[in-house]
Symmetry: C2
Subunit: 340 residues, 2 copies
């Protein structure tokens, strides 16, 4: 049986197609597309179909599971409007059985129409499914392009204190910071260069993908989102954007200066994630961390190590590509169980 799992985020839509044989995973194929839902959500159906067709003919798919976080984008007045719009578009797209990841498990279309908020930003529930394959008692941490989920698991079940994004931003279980799309100004007050502290410009000048490009921690293929100034993604273009964050340009500061700034920025983002992780660790009394997502080695491992915690990686059971779309993999797994 072939099951597709989608994770429809604000900026990226991820897909995992899993081949199951007698309930066992035989094969996983993954893909993703950059789809800014705040401006282009009318393209969602086309993107869903194209993603599947890149993997296999759509009529080979027996069922589709969907998780989402896209309902938060400002194209929707309320999350409820966002969830219902995504569901309607998915239902119009697929003929096979479909269901949606909710905070208490999979939901059918009619269930979701009664309680749409249960499906809002529940993709971390799906990722938790995978983390339990590593350990029944752990905190898994998934830093994607935009956000970081930090989810405690006890006796094989997720036990997050917050259930909505709103609650989770208070408990430390959601830190709204990521490996690619995060505006540097959002987590920096001051940066250090040559032992001097500089305040930063509160514009949309540079994002974390620029910093990790300059530091050589991501490749040009990893940099899947748009640049803030519409220019290219080379190291020099990234450096130019980073210089602007301290009201400078590459005639005023050197490439070495930008590298020094980038190291400081990297460290500050690690500390931002560690702050959320510490809150979850203290609330749950757990000390094994399982990392996944694009930021697993760039941000999550250093954050866990900063707190002196033991670290395992979902990379032990998934490939790097699968780790990047872990919520989509988990969504397919949940959908297969739901069908039985």
């Amino acid at each position: 049986m072939k099951v597709a799992g989608f994770d429809i985020g604000g900026a990226n839509t991820d897909l995992a197609v899993i081949d199951f044989e007698d309930g066992e995973i035989k094969n996983i194929e993954v893909d993703f597309a950059y789809l800014p839902m705040w401006s282009n959500n009318d393209d969602l159906q086309k993107v869903l179909i194209d993603l599947i067709e890149n993997v296999c003919p759509i009529d080979e798919i027996d069922a589709v599971g969907i998780s989402m976080t896209a309902e938060l984008v400002d194209a929707y007045d309320t999350k409820k409007d966002g969830v219902l719009d995504v569901v309607e578009k998915c239902e119009d797209t697929f003929d096979c059985p479909t269901a949606y990841v909710g905070i208490d498990g999979m939901l059918s279309k009619s269930e979701i129409e009664k309680t749409p908020l249960k499906a809002a930003a529940a993709n971390w529930i799906a990722t938790a499914q995978i983390a339990t394959l590593i350990s029944d008692n752990c905190i898994f941490i998934d830093t994607g392009s935009t956000t970081t989920d930090i989810i405690p698991i006890k006796e094989g079940k997720e036990c997050a204190i917050g259930k909505s994004d709103f609650d989770r931003s208070a408990t430390g279980e959601l830190v709204y910071t990521g490996t690619l799309r995060t505006n540097l100004a959002s987590f920096l007050d001051k940066v250090t260069l040559n032992d001097k502290e500089y305040r930063v410009a509160s514009e949309l000048f540079a994002q974390t993908a620029d910093v990790y490009t300059v530091l050589g921690l991501i490749s040009q293929e990893d940099y899947v989102c748009d640049t803030f100034d519409g220019e290219g993604k080379s190291k020099i273009e990234c450096a130019r954007r980073i210089a602007r964050v301290v009201c400078a340009d590459l005639e005023m500061i050197s490439m070495e200066d930008v590298v020094e700034l980038s190291k400081d920025i990297h460290q500050k983002q690690v500390e931002q994630i560690a702050d959320g992780l510490k809150q979850v660790v203290e609330a749950q009394n757990l000390d094994l961390i399982v990392t996944t997502g694009l930021g697993k080695d760039i941000l999550d491992r250093p954050a866990a190590e900063l707190l002196g915690l033991e670290v395992k990686s979902m990379g032990d059971i998934l490939t790097d590509e699968e780790c990047v779309v872990a919520p989509a993999v988990g969504t397919a797994v949940m959908m297969e169980k739901y069908l039985i």
Copy 2:
């Protein structure tokens, strides 16, 4: 003699036309236009002419002084490119004598072509001219739509330690935060609601103009910039954007909650400005603060009072409308002196 002073910022272009009689100010007229220079700098010439023509026929103007900060916008690879582009556009627009505010005083076109960076972000030099009319020994603070200048004056002369925006962001003399266009995520790490701390979403969801609209501290006419989501500027629409900053919507939190959040956000921006002000106060050993700009009563006075400092307002010698465009007024004053 009629002299026009322009302050060409990244987002707003301000104008003051001053009638001088024997070197004395007889009359001031002011106006401003929203002109996003990162996307629409080709419209600059038209905006300059329209602004003047709203005040008086352009051939009545005897001279034009120009200060700028627009060279920082990301339409320009370097500040130098930005300065030279603005100068070229101004020279093409006016037939009467023109000159530019630089960090050491007014510069002609040919001087600026030799040392363009002297004119980069020098508009605070012009505002200092006005502050000296209040006191020869003070710190003036000008919070505009986007940034805050904090400039020490001793014995009637500005004595800022930093000269470029880059240096000034280290000395506290520039705090990149303002009354309208500042992304809330840029200065908030956590916000407090019902005694709970919430982390904020690092998106472009809401700006300070939304907060001061909800709190009734600015009017709809003051809200001259674009909204982040393209929706309107009513209190309810501002509240909806603010709710999104904590990953919520107006079905999850109430209007009273948004007001409580807004008060906390207001206080945190006051503290951000106070942090810069404190650094300047300690470096200069000055304790009289002179406020101007749109944020003079909303942000600057509370910041100065938080530090226990004496406060005077440029409102003692200028109208509120003139205070909002104080750098343009100062630019016209400098231009008149330059001609003599």
